[in-house]
Amino acid sequence: MTTKTETRAPLPVEFYRSAIGKKWVMAVTGLGIIGFAIAHMIGNLKMFLPPVDGVPDIDIYGEALRRLFVPILPEHVFLWILRTGLIVLFLLHVHAAYSLTVMNHRARPVGYQGPRSYVAANYASRTMRWSGTIFLTFLAFHLADFTWGLPPVAPETWERGAVYANFVATFSRPPVTVLYVTASLLLGIHLYHGAWSMFQSLGINHPRFNRARKVAAYVTSGVITIGFIAPPLAVALGYLK
């Protein structure tokens, strides 16, 4: 006699249907986005490097990104592969967050009528949905400002490829600097919980390394935040011209 196992959806689909599977996706995509954020931040720090033959270092870097793997692939192709990957990461991260939020709201249709007193949950962990959503809307502004050059979000003098000049022009407007600094702090708050939470969701837990997990998460969020805030502030304070 053979026992027939119940029909199952393909493994990734079935895994993603479960909340724990979605948390795995949140963690893995979050890790990918952190990786991008670190690369992006390092790129921004090239604002501080001296120009090479009169061309700002960051402009050379921008051109190099467009010409990644150029003799092997045509121009822009590899950059678009990276961008597509990043868009997929964001879509999955947002979709998993959205469906888990719906699930969690259903799990407590009638909330506590008296005041709650939280012991472990902190500001960062309790505002993940808000910090994430607000940061996502900021990204639209950011793309309009730097990538698409859409006025009035982008400065009048915006020019494709002139990264250094665009950067200085944008942050010569104090409200924009305030917006970017606020968004960076928001990202830092999001990562403060997210980067640690990731380890739990991935089941990475070992008494010997549990303290290191927290340290790694806090250092990562701190470094990314400071790294993103430094160049705009340098422009606003007149250090970069």
């Binding site: 493994l11 079935e14 895994f15 479960s18 909340a19 724990i20 599977g21 979605k22 948390k23 795995w24 888990l100 699930m103 969690n104 259903r106 799990a107 407590r108 249709p109 009638v110 909330g111 506590y112 009528q113 008296g114 005041p115 709650r116 007193s117 939280y118 012991v119 472990a120 949950a121 962990s125 309790r126 993940m128 919980h193 640690w196 939470s197 380890f199 739990q200 969701s201 991935l202 089941g203 990475i204 837990n205 008494p207 549990n210």
Partner: protein
Amino acid sequence: MNVTLQVWRQKGPGSPGAFKTYQVDAISAEMSFLEMLDVLNERLVNQGEDPVAFDHDCREGICGSCGVMINGRAHGPQPGTATCQLHMRRFPDGSTIVVEPWRAAGFPLVKDLVVDRSAFDRIIEAGGYISVDTGSAPDANLIPVPKTVADTAFDAAACIGCGACVAACPNGAASLFTAAKIGHLNLLPQGHAERWSRTERMVGVMEHYFGSCTNHGECEKACPKEISIDFIAMMNADFLRAKLANRRLAAQYR
């Protein structure tokens, strides 16, 4: 000592509920929280009023029957303590105490402070056991278990199923309960045979009734048995393994 209680009163599942204020005077500081409620109820009965319904059984912190939100915290302000083991000396004389039932879709309200926690039984039924042929009792220590593993399994087995983790969780998730039950059995050799099916099924039932974990860590702080969220990480790891493992090799993979 005297306290002012704001207790959630609700006649039944469908009826509207509200906080009602009671002055409870001349109680001993050495009374447990439940004994204080007993005093209140005796007075209510004497006045011809409906007593406050609350769940309780052993009153020594091991059955998991009692449990209410006290001032916005599951089982009240003292860590590692069930409501029955919480004493009135923990509260300043003359203080106002807000008492509310667990709130979760998986724990429908029955009356006043009583909720129906059968959803936990559904999770246990899905795999919180080991299937064995019963016979005469095997010799003790017949199956070697390392001391450290036995200790970890015991930490998880300390779960009394009170539901404080769900109540404390901002998402109404039952991850700590389920992870403790899964961890307790998956860690031991006797539990290995059903490791993957147990993990998959119990998680499935858990997600049917409750929310999902976002790693706040509130459950760990509310747990009267101080069970660590490390078990949630273990459950997350085992769930992926359960999906990927070749079941024909049973629980051979670590």
